[in-house]
């Protein structure tokens, strides 16, 4: 299963027909096919990485939240209530699964009693994918209704009839603080894929070379060997002992390994948070390298660090968010005329995409402080 495109109306503060596509629209070079794109079916390519950039409070996290909801639907067929309202949101999700292109439409309704979201007005249509039709996969022509084999509870999406089995489709690494629970989450992720301890130690060594061993004793106690000294520490003690970067890096890199080995997608909000630029570059390079990313994982991330976009070989996998009355999303390739040989970061600093920080506001604050 791979998401191809998502269209939402009414989601958070986003404008109607808010669209995120995983499908390239610009020309595909041989080098792009090697690094920037993944062939999920004959001639059908999706992005290896997708970047979302924009000012503070421009709606970058909303894009990732939207994708996260879509992955929930496709993976567990259920959506729990969020800290934001999903009531009345309309979603259209195009996805590829076992030779077919599916179009799933629904309207979400928050249940008054439980913490679940209900699915209304559901419709699934599909068509067989043929290489000759690769440029018209989203065209209405050829879609036919998917037969639904029975009835499901209102809180279960009819995508169940297509996917049949529960499965993870993606992990979301948000910018929120997981607190002490982060170590348990990392070790649980390790167990999902039966990741050898040596791989985990490889991850830890990236962040802290003094640590030679870290093992989970039980849900809230850990055995740490650092600088030759071994101690049993509670998660709270470990949280204060390890650096913030090591703690976050442990979970993030474990999720990177997990998604690459399982072919799941990874969503990261503000990828540069707490990490050295080289580490962020390393994560991006892993998803582009087919000798590592063998199962078509896609990395979707938001960032304020526009230099990272210079490491993108394409423009159509870069989305720019802007908030006015509503959050709008723009595609760098479709919506801007930027010469490909120019550095993308330079364009950002030149405010080509109107993403520059408000200079007058900065000076106004400085004036107050004088």
């Amino acid at each position: 299963m791979k998401i191809l495109k998502v269209i939402a109306s009414g989601f958070k503060n986003c404008a109607d027909n808010f669209e995120v596509s995983y499908i390239p629209t610009a020309r595909k070079t041989a080098e792009d096919k090697e690094y920037e794109l993944q062939e999920i079916a004959d001639g059908l390519y999706v992005f290896s990485t997708i970047g979302v950039v924009g000012k503070n409070a421009s709606g970058k996290t909303s894009v990732l939240d939207l994708l996260s909801v879509c992955y929930d639907i496709l993976g567990t067929f259920r959506v729990n209530k969020k800290e934001y309202s999903l009531d009345g949101d309309k979603l259209t999700i195009y996805f590829y699964h076992e030779g077919n292109i599916y179009k799933y439409q629904t309207k979400l309704k928050e249940d008054e009693i439980s913490d679940k979201v209900l699915f209304a007005d559901q419709k699934i249509t599909y068509k067989k994918y043929y290489k000759t039709n690769v440029n018209s996969i989203f065209d209405e022509e050829g879609y036919e209704e998917y037969p639904l084999e029975g009835e499901l509870p209102e809180d279960t999406s009819s995508v169940f009839f297509v996917m049949k089995k529960l499965g993870r489709r993606a992990f979301y690494y948000g910018s929120f603080d997981l607190g002490y629970g982060i170590y348990k989450a990392a070790f649980m992720a390790q167990r999902i894929i039966d990741m050898p301890d040596r791989v985990l130690m490889n991850i830890i060594r990236i962040f802290d070379e003094n640590i030679t061993s870290l093992k989970m004793v039980d849900d809230s106690n850990f055995k740490l060997t650092s600088c030759g000294k071994t101690e049993i520490l509670s998660d709270k003690e470990l949280y204060s002992r390890l650096s913030n970067g090591t703690t976050k890096g442990l979970l993030l890199y474990t999720l990177v390994v997990l998604t690459l080995l399982e072919g799941d997608d990874l969503i990261i909000d503000e990828v540069e948070n707490h990490f050295h630029k080289t580490l962020v570059e390393n994560i991006i390079s892993l998803y582009k390298d087919k000798s590592v990313n063998k199962y078509n994982s896609t990395l979707v991330f938001s960032t304020h660090y526009c230099e990272l976009l210079d490491l993108f070989g394409r423009q159509d996998n870069i989305y720019i968010t802007k908030a006015d009355k509503k959050v709008n999303i723009h595609n760098m390739y479709k919506d801007y005329d930027v010469r490909s040989e120019l550095l993308k970061s330079k364009q950002f600093y030149n405010n080509v995409f109107e993403t520059a920080v408000n200079y007058e506001a900065l000076m106004s604050l400085k004036k107050e402080l004088k």
């Binding site: 096919k33 090697e34 390393n282 390079s285 582009k288 993108f312 070989g313």
Partner: protein, 91 residues
């Protein structure tokens, strides 16, 4: 330690080099390579993946462009100073 940046202009050349590398037929091993990989790239400045790998590596890099040049040698054509002949890289 110095690393080798090996770039092949075409996907076929890269595939051949990957096979030779995998079977230890080359004078260098995977561990000698920048990013542990041979790259499909025409130019450093236009390839985002090569730029990523160069950004990450703090040491000295020796660049070898276009791995398959033996046909040029056979035809008696000269090759650029940073280009190389496959025959010279075989163990």
């Amino acid at each position: 330690m110095k690393r080798l940046l090996v770039m092949c202009e075409g996907s076929n050349e890269k595939k051949i080099m990957d096979i030779l590398l995998e079977h230890s037929c080359l004078t260098f091993s995977e561990d000698d390579l920048l990013g542990l990989s041979i790259f499909h790239a025409r130019q450093i400045k236009n390839n985002a993946q090569v730029k990523l790998e160069l950004n990450m590596f703090p040491g000295e890099v020796e660049v070898l462009v276009d791995a398959i040049k033996q046909y040029q040698k056979l035809k008696g054509k000269a090759h650029g100073k940073d280009e190389f002949c496959l025959a010279e890289l075989l163990r």
